[in-house]
């Protein structure tokens, strides 16, 4: 069963396609040898999908995640994000895309240790050039959405692992991005807390948020509605599953 429209170079994606990767390759020149991390990945993700990207280490899932997150550019192929072709943008334009379109959630949370929860969530808004008053308002709203409305003035070290990851999710959401991009979001959490975080993701998905999650854990991937498996730099399987 084909999940997507056939796409050809030169086409424009359909309006509800948030992520369109077309024959993406990524090669690293490691001096003596050429590492081909991606060998032509084509994937389309629609609005409000909940997709897990799986694969063993070395399969290229981190590379794909970096490309999707606009942290890296492909060696060849096209990448469209929310109707905009980003595969040939330069550094600062990518920074703007990351700021507006992508909400990152990292395995290690990556919160600023000396800043309180509210300020951590405000960060993307600072780079979006939003006024201080509005920033605080929107950051507070985002924290409320993840159930941390009462922890705004806590520093990361005053929060539990699960709470820290919620702060990180709030930070990812605060700019109302096209996609929430999570890289092993439960990798540093115990199973109970992991389940909580998965509930948060499910909620957000239920509210219409597009979620892309990279993981190697099957039971975490099981929360997603669709699982894309990479192997040796190509898509091995791409399946919908019952939630």
């Amino acid at each position: 069963m084909s999940l997507v429209q056939q796409f050809h170079t030169g086409d424009t994606p359909l309006p509800d396609v948030v992520i369109l990767a077309h024959k993406l390759t990524r090669e690293y020149d490691m001096g003596s040898e050429l590492v081909r991390a991606l060998r032509g990945v084509s994937v389309q993700i629609r609005k409000n999908e909940y997709v897990a990207v799986m694969g063993p280490s070395g399969s290229g899932k981190s590379t794909l995640m970096n490309l999707i997150g606009c942290l890296d550019t492909p060696t060849s192929g096209e990448y469209w994000l929310n109707g905009q072709k980003v595969s040939d943008l330069v550094d600062d334009e990518l920074a703007r895309i990351r700021n507006k379109e992508i909400g990152f959630v990292f395995q290690t949370f990556n919160l600023l240790p000396r800043a309180d929860a509210l300020h951590n969530v405000e960060l993307p808004l600072i780079y979006a050039g939003i006024s201080a008053r509005q920033r605080r308002e929107r950051a507070a709203r985002a924290l409320n959405r993840v159930g941390l409305g009462d922890r705004m003035d806590h520093k990361p070290n005053e929060l539990s692992g699960g709470q820290r990851q919620r702060v990180a999710i709030a930070r990812a959401l605060v700019n109302e991005p096209s996609i929430l991009l999570a890289d092993e979001p439960t990798g540093n959490l115990d199973s109970t807390t992991s389940a909580e975080i998965m509930d948060v993701f499910a909620d957000l998905h239920g509210q219409g948020q597009t979620v892309v999650m990279v993981t190697h854990e099957h039971d975490i991937a099981a929360h997603a509605a669709r699982v894309v498996t990479l192997r040796d730099g190509v898509v091995a399987t791409d399946q919908r599953q019952a939630a």
Partner: protein
């Protein structure tokens, strides 16, 4: 900017060190500059005029200020004939411009009153107009008269320090002090002159040039200097050239022979001072610049460490949408803020230092506004300069590698 201040607050120790670097640099810059500035003003405005007087020149065997002359020059000076009473009389008689003149010979002696002694006092045997030329005012009594000078009356005018030492609270006028075993009647006390670069100016006594004490300072008929004060600079120049002609005639010098005497004005001292001050102006700020450069290197190191330590943070910020210039700006703001705060403290300390130096040391110091401006510019400049390289390194970090860093 708020972000920068936050980081500085949270990294107190490291920020403190770089702050200290700039602080010391700026403080010493202002301190050093102020001393040079103060001494400079003092020298040009007061020192030269105190020692020479306005529009005044001196006929001497050799220059009064003789910094670092080679032995050969010194020996040549020593071989020159001395200035004689007859020279002074001839010059005075020959000058056509209106002038005031005085004879002067000095040496150090002990002055005593009863069982009190004042040692190492400059005894000057001078003629009566000496006080006018040197612009010495009187706290008590009067100068000696021309009549007293010519007849060699044993009267004396005391400097303030001598009067204090010998008489304390008692009235010195009319008392008799001994100089070289000869009693002199005190007829006046000169107002307090203070000190110059730590040298007291009140440890002197003045007696008539022809009084018995003349034998204590010079052989008979010889004087150290003939002082000539004109009414204006132009007239002084004229008087100098006339005096030169008269002296050359008396010394039988051929047209190509050099003068074997000097006609010195306060310019001579000022030139001497200008030489020193040039060295100071170059040297002191040079030292300061070195300390600022070191401060800058410290800041740069600290910022580089900060970049290395905060690689992950930079990666995170970039992944959240920070552009290169945002990262650049953040790190530059941090280092500039450190340097500026350091400079601000440095300015306060520098001014404080200047005031303290002025108060407790003999060096006159006055704060030069220029040094403050320069201090701020250099402080901020060091901050920016030292911040540029680490900041650009930070800005260029690849977000993926930066995020992966542990």
């Amino acid at each position: 900017m708020r972000l920068a201040l936050q980081t500085i607050r949270s990294q107190k120790l490291k920020s403190g060190f770089s702050l200290l670097g700039v602080f010391i640099g700026v403080a010493s810059l202002i301190g050093a500059w102020s001393i040079v500035n103060g001494v400079n003003r003092y020298m040009t405005e007061k020192f030269a005029q105190t020692l020479y007087g306005v529009n005044t020149f001196q006929l001497r065997r050799r220059p009064m200020f003789t910094p670092n002359v080679p032995d050969s020059v010194w020996r040549a000076w020593q071989r020159r004939p001395r200035i004689r009473f007859s020279d002074a009389e001839a010059v005075e008689a020959g000058l056509t411009v209106p002038v005031v003149t005085a004879w002067q010979s000095s040496d150090n002696v002990t002055v005593s009153y009863g069982n009190k002694e004042s040692r190492d006092i400059e005894l000057t045997a001078a003629s009566e107009r000496y006080f006018d030329i040197k612009n010495l005012g009187f706290a008590l009594g009067r100068p000696f008269t021309g009549e007293e000078n010519r007849s060699g009356t044993p009267v004396v005018v005391l400097g303030d320090a001598v009067a204090q030492r010998l008489f304390a609270e008692r009235a010195p006028l009319g008392k008799s002090v001994r100089i070289g075993g000869v009693p002199y009647r005190v007829i006046g006390v000169v107002t307090k002159q203070g000190s110059i670069l730590g040298f007291p100016l009140d440890r002197f006594v003045v007696v008539p040039a022809l009084s018995p004490a003349q034998n204590l300072v010079n052989p008979p008929g010889i004087l150290d200097a003939f002082l000539v004060k004109a009414r204006s600079e132009v007239e002084m120049r004229e008087a100098i050239s006339q005096a030169e002609g008269i002296m050359r005639g008396r010394r039988h010098l051929r047209p190509k022979q050099d003068n074997n005497f000097v006609l010195e004005t306060s310019e001579g001292v000022q030139q001497f001072w200008a030489g020193i001050s040039r060295i100071l102006v170059v040297l002191l700020p040079g030292v300061v610049v070195i300390s600022l450069v070191i401060g800058g290197i410290v800041i740069m190191n600290i910022m580089l460490m900060a970049v290395a330590e905060r690689t992950r943070e930079i990666g995170l910020r970039k992944s959240l949408g920070a552009r290169r210039r945002d990262v650049l700006r953040q790190f530059l703001a941090e280092s500039t803020a450190i340097a500026t705060v350091g400079a601000a403290f440095g300015i306060v300390a520098g001014i404080g230092l200047t005031i303290v130096i002025d108060k407790i040391s003999p060096l006159p110091a006055s704060v030069s506004p220029m040094s403050i401006v320069l201090g701020v510019i250099m402080g901020a400049g060091v901050g920016v300069a030292a911040g540029v390289y680490p900041a650009s390194r930070a800005a260029k970090l690849d977000p993926i590698t930066a995020l992966r860093q542990e």
